[in-house]
């Protein structure tokens, strides 16, 4: 069993589907932060069998929860202060996400006008379906 030390301040993202931690690492732009990040892959989990965990030592405000909720709203976000869990944030599907994913429809206006933001809106909350704001193409990427 591998041991990764406690963090003093930051967050621990738990219950990440096994194998998805690197994708989340990139989408949260953690590669651009000058802080300690631990990526734990395939940790044993009673609930999930295997899971990934991300530990990030940084100011909690730097985390974009909308992006995280879009990627997987089942992730547990533990907020850490002075080495202790002080809060567990619940993730809710964002109504709209901007410039996280690109519309892949070659007929979409975003395919020719580069300056347009790529916006997806939550079209069906129950089925967790996002559609491009412009062409209504269904988002196929769910990481």
């Amino acid at each position: 069993m591998l041991n990764v030390g406690k963090i003093e301040e930051g967050f621990v993202l738990d219950h990440i589907a096994a194998g998805k931690s690197l994708s989340i690492y990139h989408h949260l732009h953690l590669d651009k932060l000058d802080c300690t990040v631990a990526i734990i892959k395939n940790a044993r989990s009673n609930k999930m069998g295997k899971k990934d965990i991300l530990k990030v030592e940084c100011d909690i405000n730097t985390l974009n929860l909308d992006v995280l909720a879009f990627i997987d709203h089942n992730i547990t976000v533990n907020v850490i202060k002075d080495g202790e869990i002080v809060d567990k944030k619940e993730l809710v599907l964002p109504k709209e996400i901007r410039d996280v994913i690109k519309c892949r429809n070659p007929r979409c206006i975003t395919s020719i006008e580069q300056e347009l933001p790529h916006i997806f809106v939550l079209a069906d909350e129950k089925k967790e379906i996002y559609r491009c704001k412009y062409c209504e193409e269904k988002c196929r990427e769910r990481f």
Binding site: R107, L116, C135, E136, E137
Partner: protein, 304 residues
């Protein structure tokens, strides 16, 4: 300021007012002859279109307004690489309202977000064509007196046909509509539409042959079955005659059934059907002008 991007942008009540206005225009054309005097419609067509463009232009001229614009992208600044956002900002300085057709889906929405004049989506790729749907609804209402309690057969290419998809989405807001989808297996209506109908508990049937359900229809909405949509030539040859409406099939229909078609028609309605009093597709074109006149007046907030 309002725009029209999708037929669902207007509530059923707002559509009722729009159709009331269109009907009044039909009955009292001269009353509206100067309603838009001094106003200009920018007709911005980034791809060729005959019926829709001329229908918009005719609508504005009937209202006493003027028309400026272009009829394909090569004669606009888009050919120099200008963005839709920039073009509409410029057009906003020249005109009072804009009808835009664009091959890229969502382009009119981008224009609307930057525009200081109302923008009407006159068709954006395979996405939306709201004024066709408004035309279909007005035709149904004008010829039957109401939009409720009928059986409509939608026939032909139900997989790729945007007019069919828009019409279904618009009709589900009215009571007691029964849908019958008539298409080859390859061109069935997409599952997201049948899922939506199931969820709303709206009755529908899917059949392969037109003849078998013909006697039950109040409306038959025909669309083209294109050769290139089939995987192989044999299937096309085998199936195409199922979807050609001729005098023989019309004998099976009710005496007051009405045939609609978004046009252009190729061969899916035999010309021998044109003289049948139930053929409503050319009247539909006329209703298209009335509904566009009503739409221009509504978006410009002009009351006569």
């Amino acid at each position: 300021m309002r725009h029209l991007m999708s037929p669902l942008d207007f509530t059923v009540e707002e559509l009722d007012s729009l159709f009331d206005l269109a009907s009044d225009i039909e009955q009292n054309m001269p009353k509206y002859a100067h309603a838009c005097q001094g106003k200009k419609l920018a007709s911005c067509f980034y791809e060729p279109s005959t019926r829709t463009r001329l229908s918009f232009e005719s609508a504005m001229l009937n209202l006493g307004g003027d028309v400026i614009g272009f009829s394909d992208a090569s004669s606009s600044s888009a050919s120099k690489g200008e963005s839709v956002s920039d073009t509409i900002r410029v057009i906003s300085c020249f005109a009072d309202i804009c009808a835009m057709r664009h091959p890229k889906e969502g382009a009119p929405m981008v224009a609307a977000s930057r525009s200081s004049i109302p923008v009407i989506n006159a068709g954006d790729g395979g996405h939306q064509h709201p004024t066709q749907t408004l035309t279909d609804l007005l035709t149904i209402r004008s010829l039957k007196g109401h939009i409720e309690h009928f059986t409509i057969g939608l026939c032909g290419d139900l997989k790729f046909g945007r007019t069919v998809h828009s019409l279904i989405h618009a009709l589900v807001r009215y009571p007691k509509i029964h849908f019958i989808f008539i298409s080859p297996e390859e061109l069935k209506v997409p599952s997201y539409i049948t899922d939506m109908l199931k969820e709303k508990q709206i009755p529908y049937e899917e059949v392969i042959r037109l003849e078998e359900i013909m006697p039950r229809l109040d409306f038959l909405y025909m669309t083209r079955v294109q050769r290139e949509r089939f995987f192989n030539e044999d299937d096309y040859v085998r199936l195409k005659d199922f979807y050609i409406l001729n005098k023989e099939k019309m004998k099976l229909a009710k005496q007051d059934m009405l045939i609609l078609h978004p046009l252009p028609r190729v061969n899916e309605i035999s010309v021998e059907v044109d003289d049948d009093p139930r053929a409503a597709y050319f009247k539909q074109v006329q209703y298209g002008v009335y509904v566009r006149m009503a739409l221009i007046l509504t978006l410009l907030d002009i009351h006569v």
